[in-house]
Amino acid sequence: MDEMRYEAPETLDAAVALLAGADGDARILAGGTDVLVLLHSDMIEPGLLVDIKKIPELTSIAVEAGGFRVGAAVSAMELVEHDAFSKAWPGVIEGVKLIGSIQIMGRATMGGNLCNASPAADSVPALIAAGAIGTIVGPEGRRDVPVEDIATAPGETSLGKGEILVSFLFPPRPPHSGDAYRRFTPRTEMDIAVVGVGISLSLDDGGTCQAARVVLGAVAERALLVEAAAAALIGTPLDEAALERLAAAASAACRPIDDKRGTKEFRIKVAGVLARRAAQDALERARGN
């Protein structure tokens, strides 16, 4: 029988070499909470699994350039328990905290969540809203890309053969900034987002919105960074009229499908509702710091 090989290299170079040199399907294994499910349901039959959790660069959290560098294979639970990061990016944490359950979060990683490339991935909208940069290493060397350019379609990423997402760089936070993530699921937990909305914004001293990023999950083939929705907020005090425009812009940007998890009509409507609620959450946080 064709057997599956498992490797757990301790350096990035070794991991890249293994992946680049593999013939047939080689898979990166981070927490495995997607990979193992796919394996067990016979959806994938890789010849090689490369576990990246033994590589220090992928599993550390550090302060860098006034912001944070978070390894792509840091477990969700470790990130949640990182006080300084949680304080700076409560919206990102809201997304990360929704990944499965406590048990799942003990294994799952943000890198896996992004590279699994599900349009419904819960940590991704807030990650994109945060303006995080992904650092990728491969046979050709190192490159930095905005996180919104990594997942391209369900199950597909812009990573080339042998490339590994190593870490995320979160920019420093100006004062009066806040972020938030809201998702809709029929159940309270252990469910896949029908719609998710991540918003990050900054206010000036007078409370007017200076900068905003609005990201919708589960309403298109990948998470959508919606400029029109951000524009509805920028320059406003996030009053009722602005929120109304935000909701309309969010709904208008949706291009969902009907599937077992929700109808088009429902997703479009709820995207607007959640955008408004997430903006209110982010606003409250921005005012508080």
């Binding site: 029929p186 159940r187 429902f266 709820v270």
Partner: protein, 760 residues
């Protein structure tokens, strides 16, 4: 004088020491330490792995099956198909057999078409891919109302509807019709001032047990079969396996494992006969463990329904008549037990004029199976909705309206029985008095109530009680314990014998150890096995008294049994120290041999059960999401032998009903393939979806049981969906009539109501 079942009457004056307390279950520690053995935990030397190939088509003729390449694969030890199953005449057993392995046609996505046994799971899976099945795909039909349309794809060309005289001509998917009537319905409606008539839909609901079915079969050279499996009724499995495989019943021995949930879904087998045939061919034991995907695609949900329900009432709130037309989707084969519905749906109201007609309809979905009060919650969803509307029309409190129409002792039911003492009124009164019923509600919140009934069941039951040489006691029981029956049965034995409950240890015997037991279902086991064990204990007590009399050399009627001891009946008999069970057991060899009692009965006298649910919901009007804020189950248990076990039943029923009400449904693609065959998308509730379910145990004893119990397994599910729908109406002014009341559907109802308000 021999004691019989008729001597086991309820004694209200009896002082109880054990019954009504909450000892640790005899199976409890093994379950929390992980030592308990479930279906997949049997391992035999040389055991092979069995895997089943399933139809990817909802409806297809199987033209041919070529297994030659699979059989040739190294490591494959046996392959079976329909050709390995004995031919059977049309009827129940042919249906069962055809559901376990498709014959001429595959009738649903997931229907078994072949199976292999191999030395590893990997090889078995690879072998399945090598089996070539030539299908001729046919048009399919999923929904019950689509299946009865004139142009619907027909599953069985030769089907003739049973129960219709004359049977309608031409092809049909209506398998059978059953009608129940009492009184004069037309006259009843003529008397009514108010009539409400509505239509309702419910979806098939999977039982949602956490443990997937698993079995190990071992067919031996001399034609014996040993089978280990998780089942709600190993004796019933044995009988049906013998029929399906054409074997003597005595040559099959079925051993049941602990059960990781059943709820009716494990009253029927699926892969078991396949494993036996594989084992016979391979000459080795074979284990088959279903995956969750297989469980959802191929094992029974309970029927989905469409119903039309009509009720009439006078303006002062007396029900005058009720009528129902009910359609049940059964999958390709009968099995819905739909006749429960017309008999139970209105039963709890003092109605004299009822007509209820049910139709069982085939379609291309898995064959349905039992689920707590099979087919009753689905139609009570409608009945209690109509009553909710009637109460609103006359501005009467919904509990008061039900009290006004409550059936009481002496009411003659539509199924012919006359109620003895029942607790419906007491249940309603307890609900009304509960603080939940009058607690304040916030904005977008609403409260609903609904009530339900179940017959409760008895039936064939056997048990054996043995007194060991040190006076402790072992029990041999014949019913798988699905929900805490063992501890309650031990408690009744301990109460009878006057010993602590931890001196009583039970096992559930395999099918060769006891006489036939009916399946664990219908809320029958604690009731029936309780009777059997009380009878066994009293027989053992009779023997204990004889032995003590012998030891003292006094006449048998000179001794009495009290508090676990035999004593002289009076001082005239003599001055003897009381003898404990242990004292007598120690001398058993000298006084005539081991001491035991056993019983083989058809338990009769099950007492009907009634429940009332109160639920508060909050509706998010922008998303349609319904949150369950508070839930109280009030139900008559007759007598709670072990109150925690009873509460567990109440809570579990409500939680399953919450899932059925809000989110659970089968999603099919256009080709009739199930799209959500996993717990990620088949959304049973998770813990955080439900509040702590409050319970009130009402106790109106059943006079025909020695401890007064009724049975509590079914009723707790019955009113749930209705209660939640009624609460939604209270919150937003719209009473949903279709399940599940999922966010998109509720949001749509809200939008439609807004639109019609705007137009008005």
């Amino acid at each position: 004088m021999t004691i019989t079942q008729d001597d086991l009457r309820f004694d209200p004056d009896r002082k109880l020491k054990v019954v009504g307390t909450t000892p640790i279950k005899p199976d409890g520690v093994d379950k929390v330490t992980g030592r308990a053995k479930f279906g997949a935990d049997t391992h035999l030397p040389g055991m092979l792995v069995g895997k089943v190939l399933r139809s990817p088509h909802a409806h297809a003729i199987i033209k041919s099956i070529d297994t030659s390449s699979a059989a040739a694969l190294a490591g494959v030890k046996a392959v079976v198909t329909r050709d390995d199953f004995p031919e059977l005449p049309p009827g129940e057993f042919r249906d069962i057999s055809s559901n376990c392995m498709a014959r001429e046609k595959a009738f649903y996505d997931g229907h078994a078409v072949a199976a292999v046994a191999a030395t590893s799971e990997r090889i078995a899976k690879k072998a399945l891919k090598l089996i070539e099945v030539d299908y001729q795909v046919l048009p399919h039909v999923i929904d019950v109302m689509d299946a009865i349309k004139p142009d619907a794809p027909i599953l069985f060309e030769d089907m003739v509807t049973k129960g219709m005289d004359p049977a309608p001509d031409g092809p049909t998917n209506i398998l059978q019709r059953k009608e129940f009537t009492m009184g004069d319905v037309d006259a009843g409606f003529a008397e009514a001032d108010i009539i409400v008539e509505r239509e309702f839909d419910t979806k098939p609901m999977h039982q949602g047990y956490i443990e997937p079915q698993a079995c190990v079969a071992n067919f031996t050279e001399d034609g014996q079969t040993e089978l280990w499996c998780c089942t709600q009724g190993h004796f019933v499995f044995r009988t049906r396996l013998a029929a399906v495989l054409k074997m003597d019943i005595s040559r099959i021995r079925v051993t049941q494992s602990e059960l990781g949930g059943g709820f009716g879904g494990k009253t029927m087998f699926y892969a078991e006969p396949v494993a036996i045939l594989l084992s016979r061919k391979a000459n080795r034991p074979v284990k088959i463990t279903l995956t969750r995907n297989e469980v959802l695609r191929a094992t029974g949900p309970v029927a989905g329904t469409h119903s039309r329900i009509k009720m009439g009432m006078t303006k002062d709130g007396r029900f005058t008549a009720a009528e129902a037309e009910l359609y049940f989707q059964t999958g390709p084969f009968t099995g819905s037990a739909f006749a429960n519905a017309p008999q139970a749906m209105f039963t709890r109201y003092d109605l004299q004029n009822i007509r209820a007609v049910g139709y069982e309809v085939v379609s291309n979905r898995p064959k349905v199976n039992a689920f707590r009060a099979p087919c009753v919650p689905q139609v009570v969803f409608g009945v209690e909705g109509v009553i909710h509307e009637l109460a609103r029309k006359i501005g009467m409190d919904p509990i008061d309206l039900r009290l006004k129409n409550a059936a009481t002792e002496g009411y003659k039911t539509i199924y012919g029985a006359t109620f003895g003492p029942i607790g419906y009124v007491e249940t309603l009164e307890a609900a009304k008095a509960h603080p939940h019923y009058t607690a304040p509600l916030g904005p977008d919140q609403g409260r609903g109530i609904a009530t339900g009934f179940w017959f409760n069941r008895g039936g064939e039951t056997t048990a054996s009680l043995n007194i060991t040489p040190d006076g402790t006691v072992t029990l041999l029981l014949g019913n798988p314990d699905v929900a805490g029956s063992r501890v309650s049965i031990c408690m009744m034995a301990a109460e009878e014998l006057g010993i602590p409950v931890d001196k009583v240890r039970p096992i559930i015997g395999d099918t060769s150890t006891l006489g036939f037991n009916r399946v664990t279902a219908g809320s029958r086991v604690t009731f029936s096995a309780g009777m059997a064990i009380v009878l066994s204990a009293r027989k053992a007590i009779e023997t204990l008294c004889q032995r003590a009399a012998m030891m003292w050399d006094v006449p048998e009627d000179g001794v009495v049994f009290e508090d676990g001891h035999v004593r002289p009946a009076s001082s005239n008999v003599g001055d003897f120290e009381p003898l404990s069970i242990a004292d007598i057991a120690k001398k058993a060899t000298e006084t005539g041999g081991p001491i035991a009692g056993h019983a083989e009965i058809v338990a009769e006298g099950a007492g009907p059960g009634f429940g009332c649910h109160i639920v508060d919901v909050e509706v998010d009007k922008e998303t349609g999401a319904v949150k369950i804020l508070r839930y109280t189950v009030v139900e008559d248990a007759g007598k709670a032998i072990h109150p925690h076990q009873v509460e567990g039943q109440y809570q579990g029923g409500a939680v399953q009903g919450i899932g059925w009400a809000l989110n659970e449904e089968y999603i099919y693609d256009k080709d009739g393939r199930m799209e959500n065959a996993g717990f990620l998308d088949y959304r049973i509730p998770v813990a955080s979806d439900v509040p702590m379910i409050d319970t009130v145990i009402v106790e109106v004893p059943n006079p025909l049981h020695p401890y007064g119990l009724r049975g509590v397994g079914e009723v707790p599910l019955v009113p749930t969906m209705a209660a939640i729908a009624n609460a939604i109406d209270d919150a937003i002014g719209i009473r949903p009539r279709s399940l599940p009341m999922s966010p998109p559907k509720v949001l749509k109802l809200i939008e439609e109501a807004e639109m019609s308000r705007d137009q008005a």
